[in-house]
Symmetry: C5
Subunit: 363 residues, 5 copies
Amino acid sequence: MTKKKLNLKSAIQKQFRSQRQIGKAPGTITYMGNREDGTYAITVIDYSDNLFDFQTLTRVEDALAFKEQVNVTWFNVYGLSNEKEIDKLGNYFNINPLVLEDIVNTNQRPKIDEYDDYVFATLKMLYLNKDYEISTEHCAIILSEHNVLLFQEIELDVFEGVRDRIKNKFGRIRTRQADYLFFALIDAIIDQYFVVTENIAAKIDLLEEEVYNHPSQETAEKIQRLKKEVLSVRKWVVPVKDLVNRIIESEHPLVTKETKLFLRDALDHSIQINENIQLYRELITNLMEVYMTNMSNKMNEVMKVLTIIATIFIPLTFIAGIYGMNFKNMPELESEYGYFYVLGIMFLILIVMIIYFKRKRWF
Amino acid sequence: MTKKKLNLKSAIQKQFRSQRQIGKAPGTITYMGNREDGTYAITVIDYSDNLFDFQTLTRVEDALAFKEQVNVTWFNVYGLSNEKEIDKLGNYFNINPLVLEDIVNTNQRPKIDEYDDYVFATLKMLYLNKDYEISTEHCAIILSEHNVLLFQEIELDVFEGVRDRIKNKFGRIRTRQADYLFFALIDAIIDQYFVVTENIAAKIDLLEEEVYNHPSQETAEKIQRLKKEVLSVRKWVVPVKDLVNRIIESEHPLVTKETKLFLRDALDHSIQINENIQLYRELITNLMEVYMTNMSNKMNEVMKVLTIIATIFIPLTFIAGIYGMNFKNMPELESEYGYFYVLGIMFLILIVMIIYFKRKRWF
Amino acid sequence: MTKKKLNLKSAIQKQFRSQRQIGKAPGTITYMGNREDGTYAITVIDYSDNLFDFQTLTRVEDALAFKEQVNVTWFNVYGLSNEKEIDKLGNYFNINPLVLEDIVNTNQRPKIDEYDDYVFATLKMLYLNKDYEISTEHCAIILSEHNVLLFQEIELDVFEGVRDRIKNKFGRIRTRQADYLFFALIDAIIDQYFVVTENIAAKIDLLEEEVYNHPSQETAEKIQRLKKEVLSVRKWVVPVKDLVNRIIESEHPLVTKETKLFLRDALDHSIQINENIQLYRELITNLMEVYMTNMSNKMNEVMKVLTIIATIFIPLTFIAGIYGMNFKNMPELESEYGYFYVLGIMFLILIVMIIYFKRKRWF
Amino acid sequence: MTKKKLNLKSAIQKQFRSQRQIGKAPGTITYMGNREDGTYAITVIDYSDNLFDFQTLTRVEDALAFKEQVNVTWFNVYGLSNEKEIDKLGNYFNINPLVLEDIVNTNQRPKIDEYDDYVFATLKMLYLNKDYEISTEHCAIILSEHNVLLFQEIELDVFEGVRDRIKNKFGRIRTRQADYLFFALIDAIIDQYFVVTENIAAKIDLLEEEVYNHPSQETAEKIQRLKKEVLSVRKWVVPVKDLVNRIIESEHPLVTKETKLFLRDALDHSIQINENIQLYRELITNLMEVYMTNMSNKMNEVMKVLTIIATIFIPLTFIAGIYGMNFKNMPELESEYGYFYVLGIMFLILIVMIIYFKRKRWF
Amino acid sequence: MTKKKLNLKSAIQKQFRSQRQIGKAPGTITYMGNREDGTYAITVIDYSDNLFDFQTLTRVEDALAFKEQVNVTWFNVYGLSNEKEIDKLGNYFNINPLVLEDIVNTNQRPKIDEYDDYVFATLKMLYLNKDYEISTEHCAIILSEHNVLLFQEIELDVFEGVRDRIKNKFGRIRTRQADYLFFALIDAIIDQYFVVTENIAAKIDLLEEEVYNHPSQETAEKIQRLKKEVLSVRKWVVPVKDLVNRIIESEHPLVTKETKLFLRDALDHSIQINENIQLYRELITNLMEVYMTNMSNKMNEVMKVLTIIATIFIPLTFIAGIYGMNFKNMPELESEYGYFYVLGIMFLILIVMIIYFKRKRWF
């Protein structure tokens, strides 16, 4: 009993990271992740139609220099555990403490909040790590008049494409305002979801092949684990549809009608991802049913073999047992052909049994 | 372990066709299908009440000649893998790059988008191939003032009826504007869905007959595969209802009130298809339950046979075993009628057992 | 393989009746039912507060005579397979070809369409045939200013009550306009649904009694077939609620506020029917669960009997086997009371086993 | 076959009470219950702030005397089978025949209808009878300017509290108008639902105790019967929420803003009841799962016992069988310690088997 | 039978606490909890930007002194069973009796009601008790112009954080009005829900580990109990989302726009909690499936062992039985190497069987 409680207590405490926040005043900046070394880095990409500048900042204070320019400036903050520096940055950009709280809250569900001077969105980046496992990273984006602030824990490939397009003047990104960059970042994150859902689809295909051709006890566990994976992916992915939809329907002056056209495309993608995840859930349930049916069928087959063997040989053994008795007076035993008669009867019973099972279609 | 990863990797890569797009700028035209030979063909049907002209174009440029006429012109583009030519055509007709991207994206879910000068719809054609299997083809339709552009991968029979009606002046199609042709094409696609749902209904009937009369292990697999088929058909068919509904509720100047009357009919058909698919899902679930119950019943029967045989003969064999023992002093063995007494007792036990099983209704 | 395909092909073709329509122009009148003899009959009931006239028409043309009168005229058309005559009638009454198409489409789902001069409703009549089986018949009703056109395949008792009320001046029907007749017909059809749902309720009661008292393998099949029946009844009955609701909310000048009061009653009935069908589905699922649990319990019981018998007698038989061995030197065999000792030990084992099973509550 | 049909026919006919109405004109007053003796009684409570009068009426006509007074008058009609007297009463109070039809229709689902001069509500009273079983009674209430008409089949305790409060001037009922009495009656009925849901909760607790501690075959049947009970309670209780909500949102002049405040409370109760019933359904499903798991676990245990015994003794018996053969030349039999060697080997096999099962954690 | 009824009766009566209210007039203050000693205590925290005062009141009357001040005053009432004192307090603050009824109704579902002068919210506090079990406490909060009244049964740690923030001037609470305190209390309660959901997550993790590595019969019961726990937590937690949403959308003058910004954060938390609970339900269902599959797999394995042993040794035992018969004339017995031939044949059968089972992949 005591041991159980200890187990539970330690299991709870492992989870309690997310409770550091509890009881604190709303707007208190409390990092909730598990990369607590306090390191952080800021890179800045400053661009307009005919300008491109990339810098790494050594101090938060340097960010201010870029703030007021009319060029679009993309601030990229890596590392969220240094609450003090985040707070400082927040003050420079007049960010509401509630937003700062959400920026460092790595458990925050995807959402969008509009403020007078800026729009704040937070969502999860999903990607495949080196072992083809689904990983998740917290991400927060702020769109203000000329700036986009992007907060991440570590540097990922997700935004590499956007950076390339800015640098190499691909597409229309260099000619547009900050809201287009804001859209481009969200679009890049959503695009990455397809990698994850395709990964799930591939796993389903593999498992389907396994279920039909060489199911084992492990197969069921794999299916269930995949189901759990889909459930947790869904948790982060489903709210994104509403998020995008709310930007489109928003009347915030920072989001231009032109960018909304592109957002409609992102909305479409997020709907497709939701539909895919729904489909995968049903396919996995389907797969589990196939597995269970297979198993039941095998059980049936096993039972049939047992029953056929037992039903044939138990009565025959009984007959042999009869004539193995040691009674003094057993007339059959004395008969010259008794043994052969009995063998004949046994053979007859065998034939009858086999016919019976054939009729019942047991083989 | 390594092998598993390899399997997963190759399975993922097979799926990754749909990821060619990822990381590229929105509006980049990237073909996603698997017919990558770059061939394409354009046919043009130009008609008005008293004119009918059919041509095959050799160059994309020739399409321009038809563009500005007041006749209704139906451009039929076969082959989507030649991204460059699609782009050229798009430029001639002032199509937004986002639309061009969706035209060649064979994974695009059904949707409708309204632009100032044109309406863009994309949906899937479902049809039965030569082996009566459900096949799916990507299709995109653009309605502009006097033109309808239809993009397909290969030529299919689906639109044969529409072509006939134009050629032979059946119905009212020759007297109407381009929006009626637009409707007629969508209607033809939706009509074809009935062929597919009827095919599913036929398969359910066959499987039902199989489940009730001669179920085998294969039956369960067939049921599950049909369920998967229905799930993937649903994926393409369900959004079509919203698509049609949105055209009807649209206030786009290109869609006339008169054509909306007909669209109401198409809406009705797509609702009916959705209801059918919902019904089929439930029937298939039902069928699976019947199968499982049948199997359980058989298992029960098998177990009863085993139990009856074992319960009758194991005790009898034990009695025979008793008198097969070689003890020096076993008075019964010496008795003159001992053997017959024992046979009698065995017979009695048999009778009692049979009565017991009869009472329990085991036969 | 070939045989399978043939099976599928013929099964599909059986279903393809509903595809005669596919590929034809919208508004083409194509009969979809299976009573293709082309016969039809028209009866006319012409009435006002102080007039009642019943006639059988020999020619479609005769209908025109009644069309323009201010009396309420109820045209009853039996037989939908004669597409030409339906077309003629449609022309006389200025009915849109899309409506005519739906009138003869026996697969049409229940719906209501409002046109400038008339209201068109189509729904299914459900009734019990002579063998107490649920049957379904297609029905279409058109309400125009002074006329109600009712299209059926064959004559049924469903509208007998309405006819009686007109003839015998029961209730308020003779004093009201055509829209009240329109309502009365729909109400009669919905009323009939209660007969069908009560029939399902009765079948559930019978099956419940069977499941609890004398379940057999057949019982499961009956339950599943009933479930399928409920599913197909639901398909025709559920849309009727929306249909009635849409008439109530319609602002069509032909539907008076007074009649809407009565329609509210019909709406109430259709809600009740939907709730009943929902309840029946749950009761049937419940019943199936009871059946499965019963079966599992029986299986358990069978296994217990087998295990008890085998567990008691297999060890005893082994002991008997030991002393049935023919070794030269087996001291126990020589002992004078060896046999009785062994019998005693066997009896002891028997007692211990029985106590063990009692403790485990196996009997 | 014939017998089956007879069964079905009689089962259907038992149900057909509810079809007496079918085919009749809407607004025909047809009693649907099963207390058809035609007796009825009317009691009248007439009250204002400083007046309280209780009378039993001998004739329906006497009701008229109270109708026009400004005091609040509560007419209580017991017995609904005397269609003629109900009709008479309806005429005195100008009640629409459709309402009268619903008053005597004991199968009517809960609903509220507003008319110009009165509001009509019908719902079911649920209560526990003497055997603590859930019983249901039909109830109809009409609110007109100074009167409340309450129709019941028999006298129940449900409204005793309201009567007491009027008589003894408890609460604010004596100072309010008829709409407050109307609310008070509905509130009393909804309050009584809590008795029923608590009864279900108590049954679930008892069954849970039974499932965990001494499950039997009967337990499953009890669970299923309770589930059925919950389903039928739900049928009558769920629509009440909408009913109350519609009074609150109604703008009928008879329902004052002050009373709506109290109705909000009743709404709250009906929401809570709906939530409880939803919860109970899930708990019962949960319970059934526990039962099934328990049963499977027991089955597993039974199978393990059988397998252990059979797996140990069948091979040993085989060895004994070998040396029970009567071949002339069997060297082992002649060996002096052969018997003991064999016994030793058997013992060794036994040990190995036990270790094997221990490792597999079968005990 | 009688015993059963007694059981049911006593079980029902245990539940009937919640029925003390039934039949009483609405607005009657009836305590529904189980701490009926009638003790109560009131503490008062009076604060403004530069004032902090904490007092314990001896009499309800003393509360009045604080009522009219412009400082924010937080009244904390512990103990709800003294209906008379609650009533007195209610009168001092002009609280509607319906609200007072809900304050002491410990079964009241979470809701918010707006009145002209105040806003009333009631919800449940969830927390972990000393044994890490989920406990629930009733809580009611009234917001009036300068006062917040908080009613609880006992003192809990939940609001300790809020008290600290007021005392130590953390955050912005001291500079804000009563509505911010109102929000802060609700926020504190919702924050505490995370502790409970994390506790459930931890239990799921523990159970998952148990299911995969050392499942026992107890495991299934634990899973089911956890499911029940989640169901009852959900009951109290789900309505909170609507509650918060309704404050945000409310236009009550007491709730300022500034506080609504913070409420949006609380709304976000309650959405996240709802999503978590939904996820946990699915994970638990998933877990139960894993358990059942595991059990089925084990059963399969057990059956295979039994079948392999029986199928190998039953036929062999039969052969041994044959040659154990005592017929006079059995030629094989006389043969010199008969015994060895038979042993050889038996060995052959054994080999064949093993190959057969290998092929069927039974080991």
